[in-house]
Symmetry: none
Subunit: 144 residues, 4 copies
């Protein structure tokens, strides 16, 4: 199950609205459940370096079916997944990437936001998920 064209556009629009509301300049990426890019928007004034960070946050969220910040807790020095960021052509393990799960509990994709503090990025990502689903996955194994 994949996020549709319409859902991707709605998620990006909702994220832009939230970013404008809190004064962010964000890059926003939406990927499907295969981690393939579905939609992307870079707001004027957003960092060029945030393009890849936003896309990698979306990748990361769908690759491991969890918010990127949750993965980051496990990848710190001394923790069990230390260094995992070098896999998969580069993961981002700080907040701002969230899975998108539909009403039937199916993960249909993910959103990644970059351009400000990680707290603000996470807030913009949450606003993006809202019109199309939730970010809480049912217990493993989830469906895609």
């Amino acid at each position: 199950m994949h996020v549709t064209s319409e859902q991707a556009a709605a998620a990006i629009q909702a994220a832009i609205t939230k970013a404008n509301e809190i004064g962010n300049k964000s890059c926003i990426a939406v990927v499907d459940s295969g981690a393939n890019l579905k939609g992307f928007h870079r707001m004027d004034g957003a960092w060029v370096g945030s393009i890849d960070v936003a896309i990698k946050k979306a990748h990361t969220a769908v690759f491991f079916a969890m918010p990127t910040g949750q993965l980051g807790k496990l990848s710190q020095p001394g923790q069990s997944l230390y260094g995992i960021e070098v896999s998969n052509h580069g993961l981002i393990s700080f907040p701002g990437g969230l899975p998108i799960v539909d009403t039937e509990g199916v993960m249909i994709g993910a959103i990644g936001v970059s351009g400000s503090t990680v707290e603000d990025d996470e807030q913009v990502a949450k606003a993006g998920v809202k019109p199309v689903g939730v970010s809480d996955l049912p217990k493993h194994p989830w469906r895609t």
Copy 2:
């Protein structure tokens, strides 16, 4: 000078409209004059393999300030630029990528479209350029 957020959205929307009109399932990428991604949309049913092709077409058009198909004429076996596709992390040298030039003759970015025949891709790309500029560059040296 860079394509704005509003211009990127308008270009993508116009391209989608044309794609729907002719029954295409397209990936559409817009980059700025530094070849950095500004906007992207993958229509439902478009090939996953077209994501990267569309982005690389936009890269190629801005890298060499010409339609991708024009580069392709020079890169055929026996021609002067044979094999150039391996440069720049991969170029696409068949039609579907077009520069975007504003009313003052400044190249502000490019659009790349992939998902159907190259003739149809080119047509969708042209429709995308229309609301924001032209694809004909003034004589070298152009400005960016």
Copy 3:
């Protein structure tokens, strides 16, 4: 707005002069506001490994419109951007990369220096920026 040929040459020359003054063997890279290479020089005796570090420092400074060392404070273990270095084909987050901002507050590119201690690299980078601009960006959103 992009750093010109003349500005890139002036920045590199000023950096070389400073490097000679303090006995450094530096690699010096200048990129435009789209992070594309404009000028580069490797002084005799500089590490071959510094070529890529200098270029990546320039990339990083322009990607996030800040000195590379400032990003590094946020990317330490336990900090909010931990691990960001894997993005954008590799970022360098220790000192030696600085944005170049013109007199109108427009970021026109960046300089990256590698070859010695990070304090010395930073000093050489600062000397490079001096003849062509400053490194302090006006409040977000800046213009490029």
Copy 4:
């Protein structure tokens, strides 16, 4: 034996002078005999896509100790080195890259030029080699 800092600067300057003379907008790269970047300059108005092509031409000339155009004759469809361009992270096999050989017959590096027709690029490259050496290598095994 490696091209020195002074030689790299002289080669680039001579190439720029020739490019200006014939109205070219060139990217010019100089590498040492280990194919590591020594100097680079992008003239104003040069294609952004030529950055990587110029560097890869210099790589190619030093990798195989021959003018890039000579390699290109062997890499056409049906010829013995068909497809070699995908090796070494990308080779460029059309004219514009030349070895730099000193007065003792030692290959000390190479120059790569991109930005115009391959004939003009080759002419600019030749002008760059002139103040620092020749491009004709003595019989194999050459020395580096």
